[in-house]
């Protein structure tokens, strides 16, 4: 692997026309599949775990800092519903929550009333896209759709590609695709690359997040190599899980993936986003993830164009923590609007 520092800054600073930063992300055109690089990637599981075990003890944020960080966590959240019983009304309620994730009185008490605080996106299945787009109209919040035969990704290839196109047509600004895990397990990296390329092309202007389903890839080494192949094939984001595997986002998986993002950035100068999904439900966990991003990649990756949490219950815990911060009293979930 050649880690020549061709780093160039792609920081997005302009806040034009009130658009959210997530839609201004400079896209990843990808590169040719570099198998020498892919094969050279090594991950030592025990060492990765040690780093992750000590991180929460090394970094803690308190008081106003903690409140500010939790507010930041909200802005990088893909508020998600991926259930068989989703209806338009249910999606509508979630979208309203995305537009007003925290009680206005709490925001005022925190001196945040002037900020347009929303979640990073709404994440739904294809069928719910129109309802979400309608509900979010004018908010600037993008709709993300899971796609390509989510969660297993085993439907016919042409249908998976068609699904992307249909979702984009329906108004999804972000597409969360699932990779074919078998291609990783079988070591068919070229095929994985080609699949990712095809998905990327089908997305058109929609940003594409590659879900690796890390819980099904067997080893961190596979996670690292799959991350790299997907980035080479043009993924704008790499994402851990569907939330449907038995093991979803973990810190070791996250560390492994974001170190690959760092390496890709060092070589290409392109910033790739990261999305851990599934199992992150506590405010405290969110703080650890933010610290991990800050430590390994820097503040640039604390923004919704480069970092998202895929979460459904995390927001509720953050709201309670914020109320506690404001009032000094522990809160209860019924005091905050349901999403």
């Amino acid at each position: 692997m050649t880690v020549s520092a061709k780093t160039k800054s792609t920081t997005v600073s302009v806040q034009n026309q009130g658009a959210l930063p997530q839609v201004q992300h400079i896209r990843n055109a990808g590169m040719v599949l570099d198998m020498d690089w892919v094969r050279a990637v090594e991950v030592n599981t025990s060492a990765v775990e040690r780093r992750c075990a000590s991180l929460p003890g090394r970094r803690s944020v308190k008081k106003d800092y903690q409140a500010a960080w939790l507010l930041k966590a909200i802005t990088v959240m893909d508020l998600t519903t991926l259930s068989g019983d989703d209806t338009e009304r249910r999606v509508n309620r979630l979208c309203r929550k995305a537009m007003q994730p925290v009680r206005p009185d709490l925001l005022a008490a925190l001196g945040m009333e002037g900020k347009r605080l929303t979640t990073g996106a709404i994440c739904v299945y294809h069928e719910m896209i129109p309802a979400a787009v309608r509900a979010l109209e004018g908010s600037g919040i993008p709709v993300a759709a899971v796609s390509t035969g989510f969660p297993a990704g085993l439907s016919p290839f042409h249908l998976r590609v068609a699904e992307i196109k249909a979702s984009v047509k329906a108004g999804a600004a972000e597409i969360d695709i699932v990779i074919s895990r078998r291609l990783v397990l079988e070591g068919k990296w070229q095929e994985l690359y080609d699949e990712m390329r095809a998905f990327r092309d089908a997305c058109g202007d929609a940003h594409v997040k590659a879900i690796l389903a890390t819980g099904e890839l067997g080893t961190l080494r596979n996670v690292a190599r799959a991350s790299l192949v997907c980035m080479m094939a043009g993924a704008d984001f790499i994402k851990t899980s569907t939330g449907k595997e038995s093991v979803n986002a973990t810190l070791p998986v996250s560390l492994t993936m974001i170190r690959q993002i760092r390496a890709y950035h060092e070589v290409t100068g392109i910033e790739i986003g990261y999305k851990p999904a599934g199992g992150i439900s506590k405010a405290k966990d969110a703080l650890v993830y933010l610290a991990l991003m800050k430590e390994e990649l820097g503040n640039r990756w604390l923004s919704p164009d480069l970092f998202r949490f895929g979460a459904s219950s995390l927001l509720g815990d953050i709201e309670r923590q914020l109320e506690h911060h404001v009032t000094g009293r522990y809160s209860a979930s019924y005091r905050h609007a349901m999403g």
Partner: protein, 780 residues
């Protein structure tokens, strides 16, 4: 900063640990502490101030112990020791368990006090030091419980004097006190002058835990108090952790006193990154290696060796990682690097780095430094060569020095190009490479794809000038015990006089045996050996320093013996026994002719049996897999000490010689043996047995001569790693003192006799080996 501003900057902000409970504790003692002797605190006396290095503020006054204080502490320990030992393993285990529990209950108080006194980040004292302390007492509660069944032939040493450093004040206290009292010893411990406070809090815990009075005594003060302990006549054991310079002085001061000694000294430990390592993880490992505890760690991975092909990429990653380190108030929970322990230490680091200005490329972490306080920025110096002082000497600060290597063998050569030998960290994803390199590095601890891992179940300690003895694990318990029974004084053994004359049959010339060949003594002088009735038996060479030099060179050349399989070593030892048996009648006659009497036959028989014993052990003295709390293994490997000098007993001229040579070579050492001075001809007959037994040349070298003359040369020889002395002359003190310069492992008789008929077994094997702990975390 307002919430909305922080929302933009995403800074960490302060996360201070509350120091108030510690302040309340200090105030409760009126910020002045006496000594803990015989279960109670003395009134605070004249002494010195201990300060918080993060801001220079005084914390408390600590008493400087006087000689009468030390006497009182030692006599309290002496008085308490017999009943503490008689209390039995279970009784002692209950007390150690109580200490462990109390350490956990008061963990935060200990952690915050340690950070205030020492300057280490509270994250470390809270998450590493204090939990390891509790772990140490738990482990040794178990060791006490099992002592009677697990070590039935061992007993306590008596009173131990323990002197500990300032870098891990409480942890080093635990490493010293836990094994000592578990094995039935009583202790007088002196914490470092800069950092006495957690030891004094520990004394209070001892009272709470029901430690009988006198079992643990804490005396505070500077190096002068340490000297009082070292020189105290009623102390049986000195355990010291600190600098190599002071360790050497302690070795000299205790020479000939009969005090048992454990020294944990300095290091310049290599951190080796191969091109197939997980480099991101290796770089993170460096944070734990050299920026842990501000680099003030004896086993710090302070010498980075990187494979040339990846060096620049590794350096770039290290620099980027350094910029992320947070330096500042150690009480802040989100600080990586705290304060240097004292302005003096800061000055020493600064001078050492500045003194080598112009060598290599210096990179300092681009991260905000606190104003005031005692801080040194994390520093990386690349492009150095081994000849640089910074590559050779311990800086004991957050300064990493780096160079490159081309091949695994060159990595090993560079790693071993040091007088130290404490630890090593090896990073590669190739298990073949890792398990090849770890045994080849001169060190007591090797970490594969990890670093600075410690646990009570695994021994810790060094080779070469990093000291000797192990702390932790089963191997550490032997440092606080001795074989049961007491030895009688050794009677002088004098050669018989006689008149020069012709031997009964054809003249035979006894020579030295060096490098597998008979060699005439360099000096060209011989001495006549006579029987008890004055009969002339033959001439023997008078060896001199050059004969020793040649023999040590031969022993070094034969170093590959260490890698010979146990099976082959066993076969050769059996074969030596077989060939000795073939000449049993002749050797028995020789022994009787030299010594008189008719014991020769029995001595030859015993010698054959002894060779069988160590042939048996050659493939059976297994190491251990220690049960450390990681997903992985800590392999405790018994490695040969290296090149041993063996000065044999004057009595039992054949059996004594074989009792030393056989364990030495069965464990893979090569040796230079000096046989009985009074009765050397059995040894010179014996080399003919060696010559016919497939033993590679240089594994055993025999130089005859005067013990006193040869012992000094051997003790002074830098390329001998160990020296055993069992002769009848009074040389033990001289040998221990002269051996101090390269800290060779000595094993001397202190003028005490030993029954050579029974002198075999694990005690000899332990002296012939050093335990190396190789930590191998695994998992994919």
């Amino acid at each position: 900063m307002s919430v909305s501003e922080i929302f933009e900057t995403m800074e960490y902000g302060p996360a201070p640990e509350d120091a108030k409970p510690v302040m309340v504790w200090l105030d409760g003692h009126k910020r002045a502490f006496g000594l803990f002797i015989d279960g109670a605190f003395t009134d605070a006396g004249a002494g010195f101030e201990t300060a918080n290095p993060a801001n220079g503020n005084a914390l408390a006054r600590v008493t400087q112990a006087s000689i009468s204080d030390v006497d009182a502490a030692v006599s309290a320990a002496r008085k308490a020791q017999p009943s503490w030992e008689k209390l039995g393993g279970h009784g002692r285990a209950k007390v150690l368990y109580a200490i462990a529990r109390l350490m956990q209950k008061h963990s935060r108080l200990f952690a915050v006090l340690e950070t205030l006194d020492n300057g280490k980040p509270v994250r470390e004292s809270r998450d590493i030091d204090v939990p390891l302390v509790a772990r140490h007492f738990y482990y040794h509660a178990g060791a006490a419980q099992l002592m009677a069944s697990d070590m039935p032939d061992q007993q306590a040493l008596g009173v131990a004097g323990q002197i500990i450093p300032w870098n891990f004040p409480l942890l080093m206290l635990a490493w010293k006190i836990a094994p000592a009292i578990a094995m039935g010893n009583c202790v007088v411990l002196k914490p470092a002058e800069y950092t006495s406070l957690t030891a004094l809090l520990f004394a209070e815990i001892c009272v709470e835990a029901g430690v009988p009075k006198g079992v643990v005594n804490i005396v505070t003060g500077n190096g002068a108090v340490g000297e009082m302990i070292v020189n105290h006549p009623d102390i049986n054991k000195i355990a010291f952790t600190g600098s190599t310079g002071v360790g050497r002085r302690i070795r000299e001061a205790t020479a000939g006193s009969g005090k048992s000694l454990t020294l944990e000294l300095g290091g310049k430990s290599p951190f080796i990154i191969f091109d197939d390592a997980d480099i991101d993880s290796a770089v993170e490992g460096l944070v734990d290696a050299i920026w842990f505890n501000q680099g003030q760690v004896c086993c710090a991975g302070s010498r980075l060796l990187v494979q040339e092909s990846v060096a620049e990429a590794v350096y770039a990653k290290i620099r980027a990682r350094m910029d992320k380190l947070r330096i500042g108030d150690p009480l802040d929970k989100a600080i990586d690097v705290g304060a240097i322990v004292d302005p003096k230490q800061l000055k020493s680091i600064t001078e050492m780095v500045d003194g080598s200005a112009g060598e290599g490329e210096v990179y300092r972490a681009n991260t905000p430094m606190p104003k005031g306080g005692c801080y040194y920025p994390p520093t990386l110096i690349t492009g150095l060569e081994s000849s640089s002082r910074l590559m050779q000497e311990e800086i004991f600060g957050p300064v990493l020095v780096a160079t490159t290597f081309r091949t695994p063998s060159e990595a090993v050569a560079l790693a071993n190009n040091t007088r130290y030998g404490l630890a090593a960290s090896i990073w590669t994803e190739n298990i073949n490479l890792a398990l090849d390199i770890a045994p080849r590095i001169e060190c007591g601890v090797a970490w594969v794809n990890t670093t600075n891992q410690f646990d009570a179940a695994a021994g810790f300690g060094g080779r070469r000038e990093s000291g000797f003895g192990r702390e932790g694990g089963r191997e550490g318990l032997y440092a606080y015990t001795k074989p049961k029974g007491s030895a009688k004084p050794l009677k002088p053994v004098v050669a018989f006089e006689g008149k020069a004359g012709a031997a009964a049959d054809l003249d035979r010339t006894a020579k030295n045996y060096v490098g597998g060949k008979q060699a005439r003594p360099d000096g060209g002088y011989v001495r006549a050996i006579y029987g008890p009735k004055g009969a002339f038996l033959g001439h023997v060479g008078i060896g001199n320093r050059k004969d020793i030099r040649n023999a040590v060179e031969a022993a070094r050349k034969a170093g590959s013996w260490a890698k010979t399989t146990g099976h082959l070593k066993a076969q050769i030892l059996f074969y030596i026994a077989e060939n000795l048996s073939a000449r049993a009648v002749e050797l028995a006659a020789r022994l009787d002719a030299m010594q008189g009497g008719k014991s020769g036959k029995a001595e030859v028989e015993a010698s054959i049996s002894r060779l069988f014993t160590y042939a048996a052990w050659a493939d059976k003295y297994d190491g251990a897999v220690h049960n450390v709390p990681i997903r992985g293994v800590a392999l405790a490997m018994n490695e040969p000490v290296g090149r041993l000098g063996l000065i044999c007993p004057d009595e039992a001229p054949l059996l004594g010689l074989i009792s030393l040579i056989a364990p030495a070579i069965s464990m893979g050492n090569t040796c230079v043996a000096v046989p009985s001075s009074a009765f050397p001809l059995a040894a010179t007959d014996f080399y003919q047995v060696l010559e016919t037994s497939d033993l590679p040349g240089g594994v055993v070298n025999i130089v005859t001569g005067d013990h006193a003359a040869l012992a000094k040369t051997m003790a002074d020889h830098a390329d001998l790693d160990g020296l055993w002395y069992f002769g009848a002359s009074d040389l033990s003190g001289m040998i221990e003192k002269a051996s101090a310069f390269n800290l060779k492992r000595t094993w001397v008789n202190n003028g005490r006799a030993r029954d050579w008929d029974l002198a075999e077994g694990e005690e000899f094997l332990r002296h012939a080996t050093d335990v190396k702990n190789i930590w191998i975390p695994y998992g994919e």
